[in-house]
Symmetry: C2
Subunit: 121 residues, 2 copies
């Protein structure tokens, strides 16, 4: 028996900002939900693209040479190796798609870094 | 410069049922949108999982030994090799995530089969 996951129910279970939760898998990619607010940290994922889908709110994605403003319903893939800095002026709900190998804050480790284990618990 | 895709704008461009359109890529997976109505065909993707996210409406996914009713916001991954038969009693909008190698109707080929080239055009 296969059971679906519900996206909104998954967001209801998220209590901390910048702390993704794994809600599904397709092939070698994980599907995650996260609530974002404020600034994150500059980082890159050397070997993995990361897809952002804005479910609610807005997100400003800063790159080294330009900024992309994301609104509800927008989808953006940050290519592997590209440094990015997500900023949510107001609370933003995102769905993420990235491989299991993706490190949350790339090669940067801060007290805000979440391990994959954290994201599964 | 990176540019986002908007999910709702992508659905606005879809005019045919059961005819997925590629709207993004993350690593080796394609992100697609499709509008579904009525019955599709029984098929399996031998080597690829396929993720369904119900953006609007409802979808009944029939398997050989059980049926899963999907509603708005529900997410279900059909594992590789599993025969499935999607039925939408009313119009349903889905986001799909699957590898570029995925054949639309698996090893079954009908007049409803769309090539990857069709899905990119």
């Amino acid at each position: 028996m296969f059971s679906p996951e519900n996206l909104m129910a998954a967001f209801d279970r998220v209590t901390d900002y910048w702390s993704p939760r794994v809600i599904g898998q397709v092939n070698d990619q994980l599907l995650k939900v996260a609530k974002l607010k404020g600034e994150f940290v500059w980082h890159a994922h050397e070997g993995e693209d990361e897809l952002f889908y804005i479910v609610k709110g807005a997100l400003r994605m800063e790159f080294e040479d330009h900024t992309v403003q994301l609104r509800e319903g927008d989808i953006l893939t940050v290519p592997k190796g590209v440094r990015h800095f997500p900023v949510a002026d107001e609370e933003c709900w995102v769905m993420l798609i990235e491989p299991a190998s993706t490190k949350h804050t790339g090669e940067v480790v801060t007290d805000r870094t979440r391990s994959l284990q954290d994201q599964l618990s």
